[in-house]
Symmetry: C2
Subunit: 85 residues, 2 copies
DNA sequence: GTGTGACTTCAAGTCCGTG
DNA sequence: ACACGGACTTGAAGTCACA
């Protein structure tokens, strides 16, 4: 796993945690809302999971947002979002 | 795999194919640009692959766009983008 | 309420090829 | 140039017990 990938996943994790806190949800509650295991949420927030598109869709709707919104935030956080060079 | 997931992946595939054609790229060329195997690109376009976040990032930059842009298009195509109900 | 390690099953992703 | 397949290695999905 490249360093850039890691930083993307870490940024995603921070973002999701931030959104979750803003909604005053526990990982358990978000897990329920998104039909994902609480420990899986934990892994995503810590940046050790690389979620699939469908997992992202589940997460986003649990957080009452869309994937594109979520990733737009990610793109403002990660300045150089390029894996291919 | 639920029906909704399939329709999301099919929509993503159509979208990517459309973008790729617009750029006048072959699957092979896009594979090269995004550092992904050509057969994998083929699978994504046919909706039988569920790409990870990092794969999406790679694809997006190969298509000279961002993941959020790509998924915004997807959200306009897929009316009910909700896996959790 | 969360982090973490370990685990199994299944899909991601690559590489070989065919028509 | 692409769909499709087999075989392969790595990693994601999904869950558990424990601290």
């Amino acid at each position: 796993m490249s360093q850039t990938k890691k930083s993307i996943l870490l940024a995603l994790g921070r973002l999701i945690k931030h959104r979750r806190k803003a909604q005053k949800l526990s990982q358990e509650q978000l897990g329920f809302l998104s039909n994902l295991d609480r420990t899986y949420i934990s892994g995503v927030e810590r940046g050790i999971r690389n979620p699939s598109l469908t997992a992202l869709v589940s997460l986003a709707s649990g957080l009452d947002t869309t994937v594109s919104e979520l990733l737009k935030d990610l793109e403002t956080e990660v300045t150089n979002l390029n894996l291919n060079e």
